[in-house]
Amino acid sequence: MELIRTGKAGTLESSDVLISVRTNPENTVEIKLKSIVEKRFGTHIRELVQHILKEMQVSSAIVDVDDRSALDCVIRARLQTALYRAAGIQKYPWEELQ
């Protein structure tokens, strides 16, 4: 998936996460995480984000994650939304979303 602009999704409300993604000139995946549960879930959240990027075939991205104790499913949802927005995709590949 090519990211053609910055895509943002989520909010700073409690239990949510604000994620912003854009393409990375260095062509790698860079994750910047700010989380109120950094000590307990920081590593896990970074791994989760990496995993989702891989699943969605994104190899070049700068991902800013401002986490307010979002559960995994919320992180997935917000990241996925942000990626599709960043890629300008409006026809979703539903078959792949199993």
Partner: protein, 512 residues
């Protein structure tokens, strides 16, 4: 036979009586009385000194001594900082500071610790910057954390000797009669301060409201007071007391409170004449409101409420639903008004409240107590002191004192806060041992301590979502995922004393 100063012949020894000390003159052995009786040009007898500095010097405070403060001014306290600044400027070092609790208003303490003014802390809890500094290992000597009752115990037994007590008082006369419920910085009960006033070697009262002698009714007695320092302001009223605390609209809090009220109603410990203590948190306030409805429906009244008193308890009393109030700490303006006006709203000191080693404290007589928790483990041990990141951010307070005394102790808390589970395998720090905690009420369900089969039997048919505490823990884990454990260093930064003086747990320095 020699003559005494009254010109009388008194034998120097009489059989059957202890040593005879002959009279030496009226003024010789009574130092606090003026020597020139009746002189109209001398100032009226008083204990006023010009400044805190004067008071510190006169008290004879030296390096290494122990000083004390109370936390009745809560987040509005200005006195501890003022006194510490003065002490620091005087170059005094290595003190032990025994404040009944420390709040985020006490951030300057960090500097005093760094400068060596403060060597040791003895307190019920710490929050904010000082707490973070302690968790990061700033102090060489571990902090001693005690419960409210434990503090009174150690002071009364002499385990803790206070060399100088610096007590902020909202109103005070020139000779040292002080109370907490009059004046611009009124805070209500002075329960914790009273113990210090009686037992400290030297007592300094600091007030922004000097009133006519005698300041009756009084909580602190003139006969315990050494010096009085008038200052412009002892505290910020906004931080001292809340306005009226309104019932929460948060549906989660209301849900938990409904379950808790249901548990209490059917536990067997709520009957006509029962007694209760609830906290000041939003869930506790809601519980009180729901219990009021039960009391009206069943025509029950409570014999007394103990606390930690808020306006909603006062309202129940004024409605006739709670007969008496025993108050060691008044949280809001309504409670302050009530304790000032109503003889049935009685100030009690910390020892009366919860000292386990006196002849019987108030927490022994409580039927129902509602408590909070940061963490509770599958053994029902409760942590109210350290947060999910291992940093100190709370207080032991009256938690362990009330849990043990009550017929039923109920911990109310959401199962998960954000992504942090409240129910865990093993709490980071035990404040209250599981043997004394009876029921956990969360938004996802209720767990009864297996040690209390009697309560379980009464609740099982009452349409409550009852689970084992392991089940609740698993529910939480399933939702949040398994967190990485917090990492600690070897160094011990805090020692947690159970109310009886024994050590129940230790706190380690957090790893950066």
């Amino acid at each position: 036979m020699p003559e005494n100063a009254a010109g009388r012949n008194i034998p120097s020894k009489i059989d059957g009586l202890p040593e005879i000390k002959p009279f030496e003159g009226a003024f010789q052995n009574t130092p606090l009385v003026r020597k020139q009786k009746g002189s109209r040009t001398l100032p009226r007898l008083n204990k006023i000194v010009d400044s805190i500095e004067q008071a510190v010097l006169k008290s004879g405070l030296k390096d290494g001594m122990t000083i004390s403060f109370h936390h009745h001014l809560r987040n509005g306290d200005m006195v501890l900082n003022m006194v510490m600044d003065v002490i620091s400027n005087l170059g005094i070092k290595g003190l032990t500071v025994a404040s009944s609790s420390l709040t985020s208003a006490h951030s300057p303490l960090v500097t005093h610790i760094e400068r060596g003014v403060v060597r040791r802390l003895i307190t019920s809890g710490i929050r904010g910057e000082p707490a973070e500094a302690v968790s990061r290992g700033l102090l060489d000597t571990p902090v001693l954390f005690h419960s409210h009752g434990g503090r009174a115990r150690m002071i009364e037994s002499g385990e803790l000797t206070i060399d100088v007590a610096f007590l902020a008082v909202p109103s005070c006369d020139v000779y040292g009669n002080a109370n907490g419920y009059t004046g611009p910085s009124a805070c209500g009960s002075l329960g914790y301060a009273k113990v210090d006033a009686v037992h400290a070697e030297k007592v300094v009262l600091i007030t922004d409201n000097l009133v006519e002698y005698p300041n009756t009714p009084f909580s602190i007695h003139q006969d315990h007071v050494d010096f009085i320092v008038p200052v412009d302001q002892i505290g910020d009223p906004q931080g001292i007391s809340a306005g009226s605390l309104r019932m929460t609209r948060n549906p989660r809090d209301i849900l938990i409170a409904q379950y808790a009220s249901h548990v209490i109603e059917h536990s067997g410990f709520m009957e006509d004449g029962f007694s209760i203590q609830t906290g000041s948190g939003s869930i506790s306030l809601a519980v009180t409101q729901f219990l009021r409805e039960v009391m009206l429906r069943k025509n029950f009244t409570a014999s007394f409420a103990l606390g930690g008193v808020t306006g909603n308890i006062v309202k129940l009393h004024e409605e006739g639903l709670v007969k008496r109030i025993l108050d060691v700490q008044s949280f809001d303006q309504e409670a302050i008004r009530s304790i000032a006006e109503n003889r049935y709203h009685t100030e009690i000191d910390a020892s009366y409240y919860a000292n386990p080693h006196n002849k019987g404290c108030a927490t022994n007589k409580i039927n129902v107590v509602v408590l909070s928790a940061m963490e509770i483990d599958t053994d029902f041990n409760v942590n109210v002191l350290t947060g999910s990141d291992g940093v100190i951010r709370g207080a032991s307070g009256g938690h362990s004192d009330t849990a043990i005394g009550s017929g039923i102790s109920i911990v109310v808390a959401p199962l998960i806060r954000g992504r942090t589970a409240t129910v865990v395998d093993s709490v980071d720090t035990i404040i209250t041992p599981g043997e004394t905690v009876d029921v956990l009420v969360t938004d996802h369900g209720v767990a009864v301590n297996p040690r209390r089969q009697d309560i379980f039997d009464r609740l099982k048919t009452k349409h409550l979502p009852i689970y084992t505490i392991e089940q609740l823990k698993q529910k939480a884990e399933k939702i949040t995922g398994v967190p990485e454990p917090v990492e600690f260093e070897e160094k011990i930064v805090g020692v947690v004393e159970y109310r009886d003086g024994t050590i129940i747990d230790v706190i380690h320095q957090v790893k950066e």
